[in-house]
């Protein structure tokens, strides 16, 4: 169906996707809303266009392509690896720009060579953007949550704190607030009076008794022990919370985490800088660093211009299915992100895939690319 409002370069873009060996797929514009809300959280509700079917099912206009493409992959069960491409309209309530606009992109599902597929995603995104904007220089920002996880893990923090910090990664404000809390010797968790009674009865040191006590209380008060959090869940988290309350980060470790988060440099220099950081601080980051180095090498191998890529240690996305690489492509001189992508190894199992499927991809903001073409005086 030829659409009159398609960006003029769409045909060329699709030809690029085809030459990159991808399979073009389409997904319905009207989608079940549930997977988007479940993956991205309740905040998305205000930013998508929702409606209801006659039977009460929540539906929405497709707000993005990654989830529909992954769902389609799971439903059609055609096996991996697969590289899908898409181009179509998405619908979101935005503060700036229109509410309907075109996105295109590639989702690379099931390639177990992580470094190579990461590098291919970044390289392909750079190539298709560069083809639309010949003669303009790109800048790429790259981050890696796995390195942050390794740093936090190597600092010897209890599990509860590691989870909190990793969960906040990508949200600078929240992360800085947590770090300040962690360093404040006064701050401690709030415990209710029941917990004091449990402590006096010696129950906090005896997990079996605590679980039994919680279970009995739930039964007595009419709460089902399996509909929500189980007695075991509550007992386990209570122990974790006591660790959280008793752990204070010494100033040296805090400085070290902050020093890491401040790293911002050309990607080519990052492997050596991370190695020096690990050596200086005595943190064991070997696994994460060797995977990082392998990705940098793979980028050079796919012919991506590594000199325009910057590594920023604090760059991440606060969505729990992003697991490693994240990146954004801009064109020099404008602040708009023209392409964004990353690795989302957790998404397919969350959406119901039976087996673990590693996944990486990117999407292009076609309206912003059009604007960038117009700004550079080219024919859009």
């Amino acid at each position: 169906m030829p659409l009159i409002n398609l960006p003029a370069f769409s045909a060329d873009l699709l030809a690029d996707f085809e030459s990159l060996g991808t399979l073009r797929v389409d997904t319905p514009v009207i989608q079940p809303a549930e997977p988007f809300l479940a993956m991205a959280g309740e905040d998305l509700r205000r930013r998508i266009f929702m409606t209801e079917s006659e039977t009460g099912e929540s539906l929405c206009l497709r707000p993005e392509f990654t989830i529909p493409v992954c769902l389609r992959h799971i439903e059609t069960a055609t096996g991996t690896p697969k590289r899908y491409a898409y181009l179509g309209e998405v619908f979101r309530q935005r503060r700036e720009g229109g509410n309907e606009f075109y996105q295109a992109g590639i989702e690379d599902l099931g390639d177990t060579d992580i470094a190579a597929s990461d590098a291919r995603a970044v390289g392909n995104a750079m190539r298709v953007v560069a083809n639309r904007l010949p003669g303009r220089s790109l800048t790429v920002t790259l981050g890696d949550q796995a390195v942050f996880e390794a740093v936090v893990g190597a600092c010897g923090l209890p599990g509860g704190w590691q989870k909190r910090l990793i969960h906040a990664f990508g949200d600078q404000k929240h992360l800085q607030k947590l770090l300040a809390e962690l360093a404040d010797p006064k701050a401690a968790g709030v415990f209710g009076p029941e917990v004091e009674r449990l402590a006096i009865n010696g129950m906090l040191d005896d997990e079996a008794r605590l679980v039994a006590h919680i279970g009995e209380t739930m039964e007595a008060t009419g709460y089902s022990t399996n509909a929500s959090r189980s007695p075991q869940d509550i007992a386990r988290r209570l122990k974790e919370k006591m660790e959280l309350a008793n752990t204070r980060l010494d100033p040296e470790t805090l400085d070290l985490v902050r020093e890491f988060l401040a790293l911002d440099m050309p990607l080519a220099e990052a492997p050596a800088a991370l190695f020096r950081f690990a050596e200086k601080t005595g943190l064991t980051l070997d696994g994460a660093l060797s995977r990082f180095d392998a990705r940098v090498a793979a980028l050079a191998a796919v012919g991506a211009d590594v000199s325009v890529i910057r590594y920023r240690a604090a760059f991440g996305r606060p969505l729990d299915y992003y697991t490693g690489l994240v990146f954004e492509v801009e064109v020099e001189g404008t602040p708009a992100v023209l392409a964004g992508g990353g690795r989302f190894d957790r998404l397919l199992t969350l959406l119901g895939a039976q087996e673990h499927i590693p996944a990486v991809g990117f999407s292009l903001w076609l309206d912003r690319i059009e604007a960038a073409i117009a700004a550079s005086g080219g024919a859009a």
Partner: protein, 231 residues
């Protein structure tokens, strides 16, 4: 210009609101019989009264189809995006007190703060195969409090239009966001309010729709000072 004031159409709220206006020297009389939905103010010919349900009042304030309304702050803040830009809370009237709160099962010994709840929500799906479910009719207030103030994104809202406090025990949700005035219903349902879980301390308010025409209308100022002096 005629100024329209909307008052709650029934119950305690109607009586309490009428009493305040009477103290303010604005005795309200129903037009026709006393079940009528229109009224006027004795001696104030340029003011008319509309009796509406409390949630309609919040909506009509947002539309600007009435000038003043007496309704709960919770209904205005829930019903209108950017409430403070669209309406002015002119006076807190001292009745209709209710707090909008986050409450969790008492048995969640490990959860007393929003930070605790954030931890639980973050790995809820990994443990339970679904998001933490919140039963509420306060979608907007819940989202602002969880996402805006506490950085918690990973939850689902389950709409609840009544008997919300029973949802955790029945298993239809894990926790609730609801109004409470004395807390006794929460206690009876074995729920506790988080220490930083009070989203809003609401009461009945005199609320003005922000309209440019009000600036030059002396009646608006007279109504405001009459009500404020009566409090």
């Amino acid at each position: 210009m005629t100024i329209t004031i909307a008052l709650p159409s029934k119950g305690r709220m109607k009586d309490d609101a009428s009493a305040i206006f009477e103290r303010a020297g604005m005795k309200i009389v129903a037009v026709g019989n006393d079940r009528s939905y229109r009224g006027r103010v004795e001696g104030w010919d340029d003011v008319e009264i509309a009796f509406l349900s409390a949630s309609e009042i919040s909506r009509e304030l947002g539309n600007g189809s009435i000038d003043f309304g007496v309704t709960g702050e919770d209904l205005v803040r829930e019903g209108l995006a950017n409430a403070d830009a669209r309406v002015e809370f002119c006076a807190r009237l001292g009745f209709g007190h209710a707090d909008v709160v986050v409450a969790v099962p008492e048995i969640w010994y490990d959860v007393d703060t929003m930070a605790d709840l954030g931890d639980v929500a973050a790995d809820f799906r990994a443990r339970h195969g679904r998001r933490l479910a919140i039963a509420t009719k306060y979608w907007r207030l819940t989202q602002n409090h969880f996402s805006g103030s506490h950085g918690i994104q990973l939850y689902r809202i389950v709409e609840s239009l009544g008997a919300t406090e029973g949802a955790p025990a029945s298993g239809s949700a894990d926790i609730i966001v609801d109004i409470t005035s004395t807390g006794s219903t929460l206690v009876a349902n074995h729920l506790k309010i988080l220490t930083d879980g009070v989203i809003l301390r609401s009461e009945a308010c005199l609320v003005r729709a922000r309209k440019p025409a009000h600036d030059s209308d002396p009646v608006v100022g007279r109504i405001l000072s009459a009500v404020r002096d009566a409090l």
